[in-house]
Amino acid sequence: MSREAVLTGEHFMTGDEAAAEGGLAAGCRFFGGYPITPATEVAERMAERLPEVGGIYIQMEDEMASMNALLGASWGGVKAMTSTSGPGFSLMMENFGLGIMTETPCVVVNVQRGGPSTGLPTLVGQQDMMQAKWGSHGDYGVIALAPNSPQEAFDFTIHAFNFSEQYRLPVFVMMDESVGHMTEKVVIPPADQIKLVSRPITKDKPGKYLPFKPDKNLIPPMIEFGEGYRIHVTGLTHDERGYPDVSPEAHRPLVRRLVEKIEKNADKIYMFDEHTLDDAEVVLISYGITSRIAQQVANECRAEGKKIGHLRLITCWPFPFAKVRELADRVKGFVVPEINMGQMSLEVERAAGRGVPTICVPNGGGEVHDPEEIHQAVREVTR
């Protein structure tokens, strides 16, 4: 029996499955997959579900291929997605960069595990946060969202598709193994209540259309192949016609735009949860699975009468620099627990400046923080 693309109703499902359902609800009809723990269940769900809704699942030969297949499908006018984890994420980086350079909408779900290398295939990590920002060579802006529950895996995959379409780039859903393998209630709304964004399409006729001429938001309107436009799209530095132009004069404005199209639109991309920040003296900053433990710590501290707030990042990239800067003007310090040896905490530190201490609570991976480790860091700041 075929099911609908949007499974409206209440479900009990994993984060991985919810990400797949979020993709389908966002209109994804192409998935290029490659099995990897702990992201395999996203691909399995898509392999089962896409034929039900007239879409295509194809298992590619490696992650370089799956990333590129997404780009091909996207230029064919179809919303496309893949999922992976650490080693596969590394392999995708080359062609993620191609997607950035050719401004191709698609979504990559990274269910993070412990690294480096093969590391901890079945256990949690948040060690790819900087790789999401800097992993492919060259300079560019990125968008990365971090869900902390299966419900958010569903919701944020839809957001990721909307951002990818609106800003024309591959967008990351930076999940982690704990969220990916956690089973919880997921509420899927009726299809007509899900807000979807489509890529800007040119109104220009073939011959008049300049495929890389940006609009006022720095986004060039797109076309799909096979409509008579006869355009060229290249990973080389190119001019507004899309033709290679490997000169500094062409390169600098292009790179600047690839950075600024995210930076200058960042206010529309930022999403975060704020908890008791108004009178906070110490602010926990966290994301993903760690935000659930951080929230527990914040609640416990408040119960003890400590003035603790919690800023939980939903959009990790672009980093909400101004928000942290503003908090830095009135708090005693930041505590940043994350399942890595200190990645987003570097960004917090950079925003906070020298006057306000940023204490990272590192965790090499494999299991989530013991709340006590975070309490200890809070005590250090409040001492």
Binding site: M1, P51, M60, E61, N68, L70, L71, G72, F225, H232
Partner: protein
């Protein structure tokens, strides 16, 4: 300006207009290829083959990887995409599945398709993706200045095999045929009519069609191996090519300055990936 001069200018413009220009991005010319390079000839054959095939040009997308042949996509006035090194085939895979009414062509070099993209080549052939591949084989990495390729014949010199190649090269038609390609041919750029005909057939073929085009690289391959000019290489093709249609692809390995077996080796029918995918009965046919 007198009318005669205007007419003369018109005449010159007319004379300079090449019949293939409408399918080339003439504003991008001159191209980057060296004099006597074989890639241009392969492109010329392709343009004619595409016309002959009757496939609407707006439904054709040409995808290239990196390298000298990797620049082909940029010169054709068709929808075209220039991928990273070796990745033209997976891009083509996504595109042809997303929009099956397109004719998707991968036009790239031997290093790009067979070495760094080798995994994509064998898997695309195995799946019988609906893609036509034109692989220009000049036995060397040209763009980077003449390094060892997976097709460099034994003993041939390159900048990274300065004492002669000690590796065994790929027998490319055999590789793709054994992986399940539906159409496999090899021609040199000397065989322009046969090459054009093969390209027309490949374009019209359903499934994974593959043409290996042997082409001279006079600047690097010929010079490194003291084989003379591009003309000398063409003369070599003339004297040493043997047409053997239906040859067992086991027997078409190319040695150094040895006989080149050319012809149509495989032409079979079988369902494509998409045809078989469309047969899926959701829920296991329950």
């Amino acid at each position: 300006m007198s009318t005669t001069v205007v007419n003369e200018k018109e005449r010159v413009r007319e004379a300079l207009h090449h019949p293939k220009d409408t399918m080339l991005r003439d504003e991008r010319l001159p191209h980057i290829w060296c004099p006597t390079c074989g890639i241009g000839t392969a492109v010329a054959c392709f343009v004619e083959a595409l016309r002959e095939s009757g496939i609407p040009e707006e439904k054709v997308v040409v995808i290239s990887g990196i390298g000298c042949t990797g620049r082909v996509a940029g010169y054709l006035r068709l929808d075209s995409y220039h991928t990273t090194h070796g990745r033209a085939l997976p891009f083509a895979t996504g595109l042809c599945l997303a929009k099956p009414e397109l004719k998707v062509v991968v036009f790239s070099g031997d290093g790009d398709i067979v070495a760094i993209g080798g995994n994509h080549l064998i898997n695309s052939a195995r799946r019988n993706m609906n893609i036509t591949v034109i692989c220009v084989n000049n036995f060397i990495y040209g763009m980077t200045g003449g390094q060892l390729a997976p097709t460099t014949p034994p003993t041939a010199k390159t900048t990274t095999s300065p004492y002669g190649n000690t590796e065994t090269p790929f027998n490319v038609p055999h590789l793709v045929a054994s992986c399940g390609a539906t159409y496999v041919a090899r021609w040199t750029v000397l065989h322009i009519r046969r090459l054009k005909k093969a390209m027309t057939e490949a374009l019209k073929k359903k499934g994974f069609s593959f043409i290996e085009v042997i082409a001279p690289c006079s600047t690097l391959y010929a010079r490194k191996n003291r084989l003379g000019t591009g003309f000398d290489l063409m003369k070599f093709y003339h004297d040493n090519s043997e047409i053997r249609h239906g040859a067992d692809t086991c027997d078409v390995q190319i040695g150094f300055q040895d006989k080149i077996i050319v012809g149509k080796f495989v032409d079979i029918e079988k369902p494509t990936f998409l045809e078989r995918y469309k047969e899926i009965k959701v829920g296991g046919g329950k």
